[in-house]
């Protein structure tokens, strides 16, 4: 008993069969072309911001973006959460050091269970540099995350 505004939003994880084609005009599916772990940062940085306008990242009010078929990206057969859509929850989780949005990003980035606590702790201790201002966008945050990980002996393997 609830209205759904987007007709084409049928199946979040399917690429080709629905209204938004791979690499369609408002959507990031074309980035599936990247593959292999080394492609991840570029892939993330390039595609994670799709559909979000730069300044709406902190304090965005609704969950829909231009990439209407889904808010997820696929990487190596796994679904990737769209950071631009969960910036509110993510920033709060980083400030608190844990939470489901932070876990979702860690899992999406392929960080193994044993390194997840370190990943969360690293982001948590660098909250101020990840979120320097309220108009920071998902792309910038993702860029900062990647450079933080590169500096860490354990986490660097996920972004090399």
């Amino acid at each position: 008993m609830k209205k759904v505004l987007i007709a084409s939003a049928f199946l979040a994880a399917s690429s080709a069969s629905f209204a938004v084609a791979p690499g369609g005009p408002n959507c990031g599916w074309g980035n599936m072309l990247f593959s292999g772990q080394s492609g991840l940062p570029a892939h993330l940085v390039a595609s994670i911001t799709n559909g979000t306008s730069g300044n709406a990242s902190f304090g965005m009010t609704s969950g829909t973006n231009g990439c209407s078929a889904n808010g997820t990206l696929t990487y190596g057969g796994k679904s990737m959460v769209n950071l631009g859509q969960i910036m509110d929850e993510f920033s709060e989780d980083v400030a608190m050091g844990d939470g489901e949005a932070l876990t979702a990003v860690a899992v999406s980035m392929g960080i193994a269970e044993e390194d997840r606590a370190l990943f969360k702790q690293t982001l948590h201790s660098n909250f101020d540099s990840l979120f320097p201002a309220a108009n920071v966008d998902a792309e910038a945050v993702m860029g900062s995350i990647v450079s933080l990980m590169k500096q860490d002996a354990t986490l660097s393997k996920y972004v090399s």
């Binding site: 759904v4 399917s14 304090g59 609704s62 889904n70 696929t74 969960i86 400030a95 899992v107 979120f131």
Partner: protein, 608 residues
């Protein structure tokens, strides 16, 4: 020679015999409940619910399950790749040896399934929400939880939703009309689950209940095969029967053959009733609760003293930039974190403002520096499916003393009352939103010695939303009521049509809710010279709600100017001695243009 003739005859006849055998077999299979479920035929009905010719392979497929089965089999044999569009049907035919088992490779479908990798399915109930007509009775959808690491965060699950496809910008009245009477296509859609969390828990501040289903891998497999068949397929959407909740029951019937969930709901499917049916069918393992952001915020505020709350208010409003206090660090952390959450709550629906965003970030940064934690221990309310049932039958006995009335000194009556849905403020509050009354379709037949049996009241709709205001929250309370009503204390007891509406405020007081709501009442009375009248109206009262005992004191004043004023005082108590049974006693005093009267009424109420 004879043998030869026999062989020739046999070879000519065999295919025909074989065909006759197959036709018979197909005829039998086409009546299989599972085949009918795959085509969305009602349990008792001859036409499929699917309103989309693309779903059927035979032109008469929506009326003729046999024709559809024959066409499906022919199509799958002549074009094996078509099986990829109908994986559930194909599997069903293979299981019955109607088509060869060797399946084509369906890349797109397989990729979809691998991406979803569903290991757990839940039926999710978003609590009812009076402030949106489409959501008053709640909403249900399915949650698909992937396996592996992705099961570690709810944000990585998926939601499958059935809803009307509304053109953007449609106004609510048109929406309500077309939603009730048809006119919108209903479609299944899938989204990331976090969008649902954002929509319900954050934007609309509704609690979410996840009923984890005990589906086996084979059952989930059947469900997902069928979901694939339904992508972009149109079912006309109807608010009462062919709605989100009914469609989900159909899916569960496909998943678990042999189970009948839909039969009781062919005329109306209320989300909470459908959840109860699924629980009663022993399909639920565990129930998980996700409080709304609003409830988390209230819980946070309750842990703070008044002076600490004042800090929250000032910090959120930007009156001060920093907390300046000698409190322990953990208290400070709690205050700043609450202020952050409060500010986010307040600006939830607003257009983004740079200033508010900066203030939010500043508070979050301070909360982090103070080592705030967001473990908020919300006490879950009672489960909706444990609440009273949604239809009501009541028997009332009443007596009224008409001291000033001309014809009679008093009257006695007996009522039979049937209410289609759903809940009023004095019914057991357990499992229902606080402060809410939502009644649709309430018919009261009254017997009186002199008049016999007559319609006393027919309420089409009665909604009252009492949302208490305080220092932090300032919602509006409101009410709408329309229908027919017999003025039972007036001399000729006329039946009038009325529409009343009002808006005002309520506040927590004396352990209950006190309210004051001005409004207007429009009344049509054929007996009067001026048959249409408009009267200003004021309702004030105090209501205490509980799981067992509830009570209300109310006063109502209406001014029909030339036709006089009507004033009423009433006291009502409700005792729910079982989840679905209650006694109710009401006393009232009325001062009306045609005289004073004092009434008492006792009801026995049974929900079903």
């Amino acid at each position: 020679m004879r043998f030869l003739i026999f062989s020739v005859a046999l070879s000519v006849l065999m295919p025909a015999i074989a065909n006759a055998g197959l036709d018979k077999q197909l005829d039998k299979f086409s009546q299989d409940p599972q085949w009918r479920a795959l085509l969305h035929y009602p349990r008792s009905g001859a036409q499929s619910y699917v309103d989309d010719p693309r779903f059927f392979l035979s032109p008469s497929g929506h009326l003729d399950p046999l024709a559809e089965l024959q066409a499906t089999r022919r199509e799958f044999i002549s074009q094996p790749l078509r099986r990829c569009d109908y994986p559930a049907r194909a599997q069903w035919l293979v299981d019955r040896s109607l088509i060869p088992a060797s399946a084509p490779v369906c890349d797109e479908y397989r990729e979809w399934r691998e991406t979803l990798d569903v290991q757990q399915v839940s039926l999710v109930l978003a609590a009812s929400y009076l402030n949106s007509p489409s959501s008053m009775y709640g909403h249900t959808f399915l949650r698909f939880t992937p396996g592996g690491d992705r099961s570690r965060s709810d944000f990585l699950a998926y939601a499958l939703n059935f809803g009307a496809n509304i053109p953007p910008g449609e106004n609510d009245i048109l929406y309500a009309y077309r939603g009730l009477f048809g006119g919108y296509p209903g479609l299944f859609s899938m989204q990331p689950y976090y969008q649902k969390i954002q929509e319900y828990s954050r934007l609309e501040n509704r609690d979410m209940w996840e009923y984890q289903l005990n589906l086996s891998m084979a059952e989930m497999d059947r469900l997902l095969r069928h979901v694939w068949e339904l992508r972009d397929i149109n079912f006309d959407y109807f608010f009462f029967d062919e709605n989100c909740s009914f469609r989900l029951l159909e899916l569960l019937e496909v998943a678990r053959p042999g189970i009948d969930l839909t039969s009781p709901f062919e005329y109306a499917a209320m989300p909470v009733d459908t959840v109860r049916a699924v629980v009663d069918a022993k399909m639920v393992d565990e129930v998980k609760y996700r409080p709304s952001k609003r409830l988390e915020l209230e819980t946070l505020l309750e842990t703070l003293s008044e002076s600490e709350q004042e800090w929250v208010r000032r910090l959120a409003a930007g009156e001060v930039d920093e907390l300046d206090s000698a409190l322990a660090q953990s208290r400070q952390a709690q205050i700043v974190f609450t202020a952050y959450r409060y500010l986010r709550y307040q600006s939830n629906r607003d257009v983004r403002s740079e200033e508010v965003a900066e203030r939010s970030l500043r508070l979050l940064r301070q909360a982090k520096a103070l080592q705030a934690a967001d473990d908020i221990a919300v006490t879950p309310p009672a489960r909706s499916d444990f609440g009273h049932r949604t239809s009501l039958l009541a028997v009332n006995a009443g007596w009224r003393d008409l001291s000033d009335a001309s014809a009679q000194a008093s009257l006695a009556y007996a009522d039979l009352n049937y209410r289609i849905s759903y809940h009023d403020a004095l019914d057991s509050q357990s499992g229902y939103p606080p402060g809410a009354t939502l009644v649709m379709g309430d018919i009261n037949l009254r017997w009186q010695e002199r008049e016999g049996l007559r319609l006393q009241e027919f309420t089409i709709m009665d909604i009252r939303s009492l949302s208490p205001r305080d220092e932090f929250f300032s919602p509006i309370s409101w009410q709408v009521n329309f229908g027919l009503e017999r003025l039972d204390d007036a001399p000729s007891q006329p039946l009038v049509a009325q529409l009343s509406a009002g808006g005002g405020v309520s506040t927590k007081w004396l352990g209950g809710i006190a309210y004051a709501m001005p409004g207007v009442r429009m009344e049509y009375n054929g007996d009067f010279r001026e048959d249409w009248r408009l009267a200003p109206m004021v309702n004030i009262g105090q209501v205490w709600q509980g799981a067992v005992l509830s009570a209300e004191l109310a006063a109502r004043w209406m001014d029909f100017s030339g036709a006089g004023q009507r004033k009423q005082l009433s006291a009502t108590a409700n005792y729910a001695y079982q989840a679905d049974r209650a006694w109710r006693l009401q006393l009232d005093y009325r001062d009306q243009p045609w005289g004073d009267s004092l009434g008492v009424e006792l009801s026995w109420r049974r929900f079903f």
